[in-house]
Symmetry: C2
Subunit: 321 residues, 2 copies
């Protein structure tokens, strides 16, 4: 059976494996979700794989699919063979996920990093669908993931480990990142970083008097966004600072990679313009030879938290824009 | 006439246009230089173009070439149409170099950034010739240029402006770069940066007593390299620091781009291990999930200052490895 025939004939299955939840979906060739399932991510690696198999089997049975393709986005470093080399929030180490799934399911499987899958989804049917020249995506959530599409292809690097944009170093010697380095983009502009910056500002009492943040225990990034949207000046200042760091990272990436568009997604994007306006300003200030070049716009992702599962399904089906 | 026929039949012409000199060469399909010419770069833009035409005409006449291809590497931002959008050390602004040369020469011409051309030369016949998976190159000279080969192709970005690796930001708020930003790789690890760091250390008297750098007026990066190679501890410390910054930049780039090999060229490479050893150490310390992944090696370029003209000629000929 040829993959192309499968892709043309039937919907594809996508799986998006995060640290807390797994999203499974049946996706048509146009990137529309026909049906979706969400389950908690099993902590145990073998149980996790069994859950993935059960999700695919379930979708196939319910929808009377005798054959299809499976695309997986996994939160971790995934090599060109679909081996999860390392995943900070999952216990997989050098785990041959693609081979195991193919063997159990008897279906063609492709495994990619989750943010790369999301970038592909946004490129094909989301905020990058008019950017034939390529899209760079940052998923800013608890951490920062990345994906890059260039010349109509997902950039994977020599070993499949490209686009770890959360770990570009923009402030050497800066705050500690979960990866062990200091001054990574993720350490300065992520949900985790926003929460930490807010807690530090509260401890140092550098926020304006009367900020509601002084009254919140164990401040999270979400607390900051909610307070900023309600007009709290202290929360606004914390988000502006995180946005400016995001802009420094975007400038560094655009100077390196020259995409047609920069797409920002992930949960932190709920902050909207409070984050993206200072980001865009800081990015424009730092783009090399800005007045002599095309300036890739920074736009919000449009597929929400479906980007990963849609992109994974389309990648698995070999579908291209 | 098909380009491939030309490329197969006759040597190609390469032109490497720097701020101070132009190198022209006749290059065979294997990347060997058959003949080379060097001239000073005319300051005036029109005279510069006339010089390029004269160099090509001269090589064609002397070697009785009735047709060939021309590849150009130019020190500046070059877009996909071969327009020099901006060149910090040349007065070309939005200058349609490719079209002008094609029209005057009646030959197919390709124009790329000079460091990108050098990366292609090193990838095809130099230090990257065994790295089929792709090579990332940094040319560390007065400034820092970059080039990237991925999946057997030169990465150009959506507008041709990719790989300005000298302007990734690794220390936001750090030393001022000629581009106007602060904390770019070029501001921390280039011939210019090494000279400036040495002058600052002399002024602050932070070098070891007895360092010969205290006795040199108007210290340059070359002065530092020469003194370090002669065993001067102060010069050694300055180079080590520049090397460590280079390593921070390499880590950031490998986390983003996952090449098979990192090639470092440019004049500063005369410092050899004095620069590359601290660079490699700092890079290894900062590579994400180093113990779970392939670690792209850092190697010195092997084509010296011929990489650009060879790469340009091979790009112009449409030759691939």
């Amino acid at each position: 059976m040829a993959d192309d025939e499968v892709a043309d004939a039937v919907p594809a299955i996508g799986l998006d494996i995060g640290g807390t939840k797994i999203v499974a979906a049946l996706v048509d060739r146009d990137g529309a979700i026909l049906v979706e399932r969400r389950v908690e991510t099993p902590v145990d690696g073998e149980r996790r794989t069994a859950e993935l198999i059960a999700l695919v089997d379930g979708l196939c049975k319910e929808h009377d699919l005798h054959t299809t393709t499976v695309g997986v986005g996994a939160a971790g470093l995934v090599d060109l063979d679909g081996v999860v080399r390392y995943a900070p929030n999952l216990d997989w180490r050098d785990y041959p996920l693609r081979r195991l799934l193919e063997s159990e399911l008897g279906l063609p499987v492709r495994v990619e990093n989750d943010a790369a899958a999301a970038a592909w989804g946004e490129y094909v049917v989301g905020a990058g669908r008019d950017a034939a020249g390529g899209a760079l995506m940052l998923t800013v959530g608890t951490g920062v993931g990345g994906g890059l599409v260039t010349e109509g292809r997902l950039a994977r690097g020599a070993h499949g480990l490209a686009a770890e944009f959360g770990h570009i170093i923009i402030a050497e010697g800066g705050p500690r990142c979960p990866c062990g380095n200091r001054g990574c983009l993720e350490a300065l502009s992520s949900g985790t970083a926003i929460g930490r910056a807010a807690r530090e500002a509260v401890a140092a009492r550098t926020l304006p008097e009367g900020s509601v943040l002084y009254d919140v225990d164990d401040l999270s990034g979400t607390d900051v966004t909610v307070a900023a949207q309600a007009g709290d000046a202290g929360a606004h200042a914390v988000l502006t600072e995180a946005g400016r760091w995001l802009g420094v990272g975007i400038a560094s990436l655009v100077n390196s990679l020259d995409p047609e568009v920069v797409i920002v997604g992930g949960g932190v994007i709920d902050a909207g313009a409070l984050l993206l306006e200072p980001a865009t300003e800081a990015y424009h200030e730092r783009l090399v030879a800005r007045e002599h070049r095309s300036v890739p716009p920074v736009v919000a992702a449009s597929l929400g938290d479906h980007a990963g599962v849609i992109g994974a399904a389309l990648l698995g089906a070999g579908a291209r824009s």
